[in-house]
């Protein structure tokens, strides 16, 4: 190996010192937070990174026990962005189900949503379809069974 041995040893120590300094960066923010908060186990995979997505995830998880695993359902929310987020997550959270988008990238797709048997309504004050049957209220929303289309 090239270079005099003492030089190499000094540089190796410098690399180690650098590693030690870098190690402090992820550590520092933890020192300012309460241990209790840091030990609180998360309820969703994104509790500490994307708060709003975490709420939406929790809403979908809360709906799971009330739907048949292979349910055909749509997800409704007050705005298109939230609907899109809920729809994208629902595909994975209901792997045997068939989520149908009400809007997709902001564009309405009512023909898709019309085929849904259930609607999961996120933070909506009233059901989208007044004839829908309430199945359950869950945190941040409710699940409805839609009347069969004639």
């Amino acid at each position: 190996v090239s270079g005099p041995a003492p030089d190499r040893a000094r540089r190796a120590r410098l690399w180690l010192a650098g590693a030690l300094v870098l190690c402090l960066f992820p550590l520092m923010p933890r020192l300012g937070r309460s241990l209790r908060e840091q030990l609180r186990l998360p309820a969703t995979p994104v509790d500490r990174t994307h708060g709003e997505w975490a709420r939406e995830w929790l809403f979908l998880e809360s709906c799971q026990p009330f739907l048949p695993s292979n349910a055909r359902f749509t997800v409704l929310a007050a705005d298109a962005d939230t609907e899109m987020a809920l729809y994208m997550m629902a595909i994975g959270l209901f792997p045997a189900g068939q989520p149908l988008p009400h809007t997709y990238y902001g564009m309405p797709h009512p023909e898709q949503a019309a085929a849904a048997q259930y609607s999961l309504e996120y933070r909506k004050s009233a059901p989208e379809n007044p004839r829908a049957r309430l199945i359950a209220r869950v945190p941040d929303g409710a699940i409805y069974e839609r009347p069969p289309t004639p």
């Binding site: 090239s2 270079g3 190796a12 690399w15 590693a19 992820p26 995979p45 990174t49």
Partner: protein, 454 residues
């Protein structure tokens, strides 16, 4: 319980590729380093098996997915274990260096793992497509072609290579469901798995103390970066695993006589992991080839071919699958290739560096760059790493120049993640430049390396 089964399935992947640990060029390394090679082989084999089973209409199950890799692995292992490995002294840094490097790297990995456990760095893409594909693949016991074909799944980049969803689906099959909170934690395992092999490779060019120190720095920098770039559960950690080991392997290779099994395997893994993995593979191979030409090595083309062939072949396998299943063939581009806009170039050039803090206020970049500059190395020797650094940033700039609107937001959520292999390459190159530079005496038998330059 399902989480434990998922974890066990992840830890079983090296078993599927155990044969690779007996390759003559790999047997010289320690057990953990060889396990990393087996992990790479297991991942590649599992992914290809997933494709073949779906093509053949065979439903995925643990035995069906495991059998082909195991059979191939056993056969290759039996074949390769007949050869006599090169003797290599055990990795033995001094007690102080081992303690310090072990403590720093261990603490970094613990902090990263803890961050993932506490959902402090879960990628949103994991909830939108990586994990989604895995959950659906496990449910339908195969690649869900209908879903990938659906217009309403266009957001989930159905053209992306399939390694990460297949590996996660393998775990979900074992677990009986997708353990959404646990999966991001396994991202830390890729970094931990790479470390012994990175150190094992580095020590071919430097002292054991030096390899331990650079390995500790590499781990700490990338652990901080993975957390800061919110990369839990997505493909960044496996991509770093594959690309970093490929680069380290090429940086330390002895010369014309040395086989390139290890970097070739890693480049295949990278190409199956992300689209960027294919770009990186091309850049790394180009860097190695130019380095060889500059150094006057012989048979450059003949030696580059086996390096390039595995990533090309696995990407072809994925494209063939797409074609056979009626999916759109190839990777989608961000618009027409040459339809670039120059009006945001200044913004792009200003904003990319801003996003390279890597969770350490740019120190993860600044320290290796300082080592690199002060070491005044023979630059051509570092080309496999430097081509990736330069090429990746060039690729990023070119990609952002396709944006019709101000790309600042997209730079903000992609540059910290996508730049990580470049950070890794920069650290490895700087480590070799500052602490190595010459070949150790454990040359491969039959190698025709030139004598070290002063």
């Amino acid at each position: 319980m399902s989480s434990l089964r998922f974890l066990a399935a992840m830890l079983a992947i090296p078993v599927l590729g155990a044969g690779a640990a007996f390759h003559p060029s790999v047997r010289r390394y320690g057990v953990l380093a060889r396990a990393a090679v087996a992990l790479a082989m297991g991942t590649v084999a599992l992914t290809l098996t997933g494709l073949v089973l779906t093509l053949a209409g065979v439903a995925w199950s643990l035995p069906a997915l495991a059998a082909p890799p195991l059979v191939v692995s056993l056969a290759l292992g039996a074949l390769w274990s007949r050869s006599v490995p090169e003797p290599r002294p055990a990795f033995r840094p001094s007690r102080r260096a081992a303690a310090a490097a072990g403590a720093v790297a261990g603490l970094s990995l613990l902090l990263l793992g803890w961050t993932f456990v506490m959902s402090g760095a879960t990628s949103i893409d994991y909830l939108l497509f990586w994990g989604v594909k895995a959950a659906r693949f496990a449910q339908v016991r195969g690649i869900d072609v209908g879903l990938l074909r659906s217009f309403y799944f266009g957001h989930a980049v159905p053209d992306y290579p399939p390694a990460v969803p297949i590996v996660q689906a393998w775990g979900a099959l074992a677990a009986g469901r997708m353990p959404w909170r646990l999966v991001p934690v396994t991202s830390a395992l890729w970094l931990a798995a790479a470390l012994p092999l990175v150190c094992g490779l580095l020590r071919r060019r430097m002292t054991d103390d030096g390899a331990a120190a650079v390995g500790a720095f590499w781990t700490t920098a990338l652990a901080a970066s993975l957390a800061a770039s919110i990369s839990g559960g997505n493909a960044e950690a496996p991509l770093l695993f594959f690309e970093s080991i490929a680069i380290a392997g090429l940086l330390v290779e002895d010369g014309e006589g040395e086989g390139r099994f290890l970097p070739a395997l890693m480049l295949a893994g990278a190409a199956l992991t992300k689209v960027e993995g294919s770009v990186a593979a091309l850049l790394i191979v180009a860097g190695a080839a130019v380095r060889d030409v500059v150094e006057g090595r012989r048979r450059v083309f003949a030696r580059s071919l086996p390096l390039l062939a595995p990533p090309v072949l696995v990407v072809c396998a994925w494209f063939l699958f797409q074609w056979r299943m009626g999916l759109q063939v190839g990777y989608r581009s961000h618009g027409s290739l040459l339809a670039v806009r120059t009006e945001f170039l200044a913004t792009i050039l200003a904003w990319i560096p801003r996003e390279l803090g890597a969770g350490t206020y740019w120190l993860s970049w600044a320290i290796p760059i300082a080592f690199l500059v002060t070491a005044r190395p023979v630059v051509s020797r570092l080309f496999p790493a430097l081509f990736l650094v330069g090429g990746l940033f060039g690729f990023l700039v070119f990609d952002y120049m396709h944006d019709a609107t101000d790309p600042r937001e997209r730079i903000g959520w992609t540059a910290p993640r996508v730049s990580q292999p470049a950070l890794s390459a920069c650290i490895l190159a700087a480590g070799i430049a500052s602490l190595g530079g010459a070949r150790r005496t454990h040359a491969v038998r039959g190698a025709t390396a030139k004598p070290p330059r002063p």
